[in-house]
């Protein structure tokens, strides 16, 4: 039932142009008949609106409406409303906009904007095949209207807009850089001996590994996890017997190979939902039933190969820091243009994807080395999803307070649990030892990356709205919580606004002081690129990877598009949230179970 995209566009443009010409002819006719211009305009609009409705119904959107259960009357009402609103907005905006940006610019800008708005309102609302269209949610429309008004206002009050946007961008970029440099802010933060000598491990613990459709890696992972350098720990593989017998079989085989070291826990059969918190909670219940002795609980993903010495370090940090959570480093590794970075997908793919993979790898590099430490120090801690270790007492306190260990309804339970730990005043220790980081790979495509981010961002919105962060003890923490949870959106906002502000500053003759202010965020962008280059070089040195000149070039040129991709993700996260859509299937490994929404997101 999908219509080739190009035909829709062409037909829409054709109808629009024809109706516009017709409208002008009608207008000329009416005025010659002696009608008042205002009356003539309204009459002309009313007539062309009906014609264009008929034409669009019969031509442009015909394939979408045929067979739909939405009545013609509903469609007509929606169409009149949407088109009428855009026309009124147009008429109101023009007299304000024209003196600010010039008559021609205002006219053609509004024509293009209206065309885009009309196209969207047609496609997703008036002629949507579904009764409730994708965008036709009142909250989404309200948000869209607010955005449009904001854009208009900013064009008219350019000076104020520039000041506000510049200050905001400065704040975001400045804090980003500051957080990113936390590790190097004091020389002591980067001391090679800052974590101390691990010594003999003394605390027993468990590692939980949820596995689902991981036949390719399950055996390898369990083998590695079973042979870490620590005297007393248990690995619990959580598998779904009914759903995924293959992985379950591998897990049981490994459990037989390492009796007492590996346990297998069954994923609850009484639910249709498959997600990580459910698995982890099930494992906790099993451990309790079996009376396993442990002081800490680690979480690993199915493809995570822990460093053999990692548990010793975790054991040591639990004792040395008294922390409730030890978050160890996770690092995406495949950054460059080298073909081995994308596991045999070829030279072309490696080169065309290098720009975003480098940025993604560096993001992790910054997060786990610096940003998380800074957040841990202040006590607002969205955690990473794996290689994270909890003190048992913390989890028990969580259950006491919230009724469960991990929140099974939250899209980013790791973030939520981090905030909850801070509320319970457990300090978090972040450990980044170069050789001990858990190495991971970037999502297989930019599309998958965006998808992952949409989920994260939506999860962050959830965490924000549940308001648990309001119980953080100090004001600093609460402010930082807002910052941390909203950061991805701020950044998205900045990425979109930066070029707009720059253009405005250059074209619009603002006072020099304002133009200078508008330049500062640009300078910080430059600084970010410098730091990225430096960091990439350091990354290469640390992990023994060669960094090529084109990797640097890709990184610098890709920085802004990467941010744009994230902005896109942020937009969709917002829209999905406004529409209350939370039906995520989390792991991309489970491609077979994608719901229809995925098509929407990645289109």
């Amino acid at each position: 039932m999908r219509v080739p995209v190009r035909r829709e566009h062409v037909l829409f443009a054709f109808v629009g142009l024809s109706v516009a010409v017709l409208g002008h002819l009608l207008l000329a006719l009416f005025i010659r008949q002696g009608l008042q211009p205002a009356v003539a305009n309204v009459l002309q609009f009313a007539i062309t609106l009906q014609i264009s409705f008929a034409a669009n119904y019969a031509l442009t959107w015909h394939p979408r409406v045929s067979g739909s259960d939405v009545s013609l009357g509903t469609r007509w009402r929606r169409y009149q409303l949407a088109r009428g609103a855009s026309a009124v907005l147009n008429a109101v905006a023009f007299p304000f906009l024209a003196p600010a940006v010039g008559t021609a610019t205002a006219y053609w800008g509004l024509v293009v904007a209206c065309a885009v708005v009309n196209f969207c309102s047609d496609k997703y609302w008036s002629f949507s095949p579904r009764r409730r269209s994708t965008l036709a949610h009142p909250r989404v429309l309200l948000g869209g209207l607010a955005t449009v008004l904001l854009v208009l206002a900013s064009a008219i009050f350019a000076d104020y807009f520039l000041i506000g946007v510049s200050l905001f961008m400065l704040l975001v970029s400045g804090t980003t850089v500051t957080f990113q440099l936390y590790k190097w802010w004091w020389p002591e933060h980067n001391d090679p001996h800052r974590y101390g000598d691990p010594g003999e491990p003394r605390l027993p613990g468990v590692i939980l590994v949820p596995m689902r459709f991981e036949e390719a890696v399950a055996g390898h992972t369990l083998e590695r996890l079973a042979t870490l350098d620590h005297p007393g720990y248990t690995v619990v593989a959580i598998v779904d017997h009914a759903d995924d017998p293959g992985t379950a079989a591998i897990a049981h085989a490994k459990a037989r190979e390492h009796p007492g070291r590996i346990l297998v826990c069954a994923y609850p059969e009484d639910t249709e939902v498959h997600n990580k918190p459910t698995a982890l909670n099930a494992a906790m219940r099993m451990l309790e039933d079996q009376g396993v002795r442990f002081e800490w609980i680690g979480v690993a993903d199915a493809e995570d190969l822990f460093h053999p010495g990692l548990l010793r370090m975790v054991d040591h940090r639990f004792r040395a820091s008294g922390a409730g959570i030890v978050q160890c480093g996770v690092q995406l590794m495949n950054f460059g243009c080298a073909p081995h970075a994308v596991a045999g997908r070829g030279w072309w793919h490696a080169h065309t994807s290098a720009w975003w993979r480098a940025a993604n790898c560096l993001e992790y590099f910054k997060w786990f080395q610096s940003r998380l430490k800074m957040q841990a120090r202040i006590g607002v801690m969205p955690l990473g999803g794996n290689t994270v270790f909890f003190r048992r007492q913390l989890l028990e306190d969580l259950r006491e307070r919230y009724g469960s260990y991990w929140d099974e309804d939250c899209l980013t339970e790791d973030c939520k649990i981090g905030i909850a730990a801070s509320v319970l005043r457990y300090p978090v220790d972040v450990v980044y030892v170069d050789e001990m980081v858990t190495r991971e790979e970037t999502p297989e495509s930019l599309r998958a990356l965006v998808r992952q981010r949409v989920r994260w961002m939506q999860g962050f919105i959830q965490v924000f709205l549940t308001g648990e962060w309001l119980r953080l003890p100090t004001r600093t923490q609460r402010v930082l919580a807002v910052y941390v949870l909203g950061f991805q959106f701020f950044q998205a906002f900045v990425a979109v606004l930066a070029p707009v502000a720059l253009l405005l500053a250059l074209l619009h003759k603002a006072p020099e002081a304002i133009t200078l202010l508008a330049t500062l965020p640009l300078a910080l962008t430059l600084l970010n690129s410098l730091l990225d280059i430096q960091l990439l070089a350091q990354f290469g040195r640390t992990f023994g990877e060669r960094v090529r000149l084109r990797d640097y070039v890709g990184l610098v040129l890709g920085a802004w598009p990467y941010q744009l991709a994230l902005s896109y993700a942020a937009l969709w996260a917002m829209i999905r949230h406004l529409r209350r859509r939370t039906d995520w299937v989390k792991t991309t490994h489970q491609g077979a179970h994608l719901d229809t929404d995925r098509v929407l997101v990645t289109r």
Partner: protein, 314 residues
């Protein structure tokens, strides 16, 4: 943004104090005597006892009429010239005319060692006799041509002039200190010298005495100067400036010279008291330009009259 700043400034201005603009005049440094405007409505005294008249009478030179027919100043170049004043004064009193005299006897007159009075005391005696001889007749006295503008002007000279001005003024005479001419010194410097020479007691100053700057230039210069010395009025010597300044300002009996506007007290230009013939046309400027004396020269008179007629200056 600008609005914001403006609002901020208004708030700030609220606590800023308003500038103090009231004037609290200090006592003036120079106190000027009130002006008496002696030339206003006055008839200039016609002096029949002049070299030109004598020459005309002696030689029947009626062509000299343009010179002899007009009132001119009488130069008192030393004690020898004082005695005839008695008659002039009496005649002026009788005719109710205003005689214009030129005091020209300052020590080192013309910056020459042996010119003028021998010492200040001699000069004071000269002034004293001048006052005595004039008696009740009030005259306009042009004070010491070139003395103020000369290079050899000193503070002492200024003091001497000032003392004399004061005596003359107290005796009821109207003193106009010679200020030089528009092509000589700047008004600023001249004002300074005039103030040092007692301009505050004088009626005003004289411009262009014995020189040939145009009346317009002289007026402009005099007006500018007048503003610097308390608005004192001034007279312009138009005796020989009909053609304006000769090339390179040649001052001594130049070929290019003509009689200027005839003397009058009916002037309308503000600040200007009268147009006078202070230098007597036809009298030689010195030993130059074919002349051997400072005395009346018919050749010079002829030149002045002819040039005036041919150029249409009357």
């Amino acid at each position: 943004m600008r609005m914001l700043i403006v609002v901020l400034l208004i708030v700030l201005a609220g606590c800023a104090r308003a500038p103090d603009t009231t004037l609290k005049p200090w006592p003036p440094q120079v106190a000027y005597a009130p002006l008496r405007h002696p030339f206003k409505g006055a008839d200039l005294h016609r002096d029949t006892d002049s070299a030109a008249m004598r020459y005309r009478l002696a030689n029947g030179a009626a062509w000299l009429a343009p010179i002899t027919g007009r009132p001119q100043a009488r130069w008192i170049n030393g004690p020898a010239d004082l005695e005839p004043l008695r008659a002039v004064a009496a005649q002026a009193r009788l005719q109710r005319t205003l005689p214009v005299l030129v005091a020209y006897y300052l020590p080192h007159r013309g910056c020459a060692k042996d010119q003028g009075a021998r010492g200040e005391a001699a000069y004071q005696r000269y002034i004293g006799r001048l006052i005595r001889l004039l008696g009740a007749t009030h005259a306009a006295i042009i004070m010491e041509p070139d003395a103020v503008a000369a290079d050899c002007f000193t503070r002492e000279r200024g003091t001497l002039i000032a003392a004399s001005v004061r005596r003359l003024a107290e005796a009821g005479h109207h003193v106009y200190i010679d200020a030089g001419h528009s092509a000589w010194r700047t008004t600023g410097e001249t004002a300074e010298r005039l103030l040092a020479s007692g301009i505050q007691h004088a009626e005003g100053f004289a411009v262009n005495v014995s020189n040939r700057q145009t009346t317009d230039d002289s007026y402009r210069w005099g007006r500018e100067l007048s503003s610097l010395v308390g608005g004192r009025e001034f007279v312009i010597d138009t005796s020989r400036n009909g053609l304006g300044p000769p090339p390179e300002n040649e001052w001594c009996n130049p070929r290019r010279q003509a009689l200027g506007q005839e003397p009058t007290t009916e002037v309308v230009a503000p600040g200007l008291a009268a147009l006078l013939w202070i230098k007597r046309p036809g009298e030689s400027d010195g030993i130059c330009g074919g002349e051997d004396t400072y005395l009346f020269s018919p050749r010079q008179a002829r030149l002045l009259i002819d040039n005036a007629e041919s150029s249409g200056v009357r």
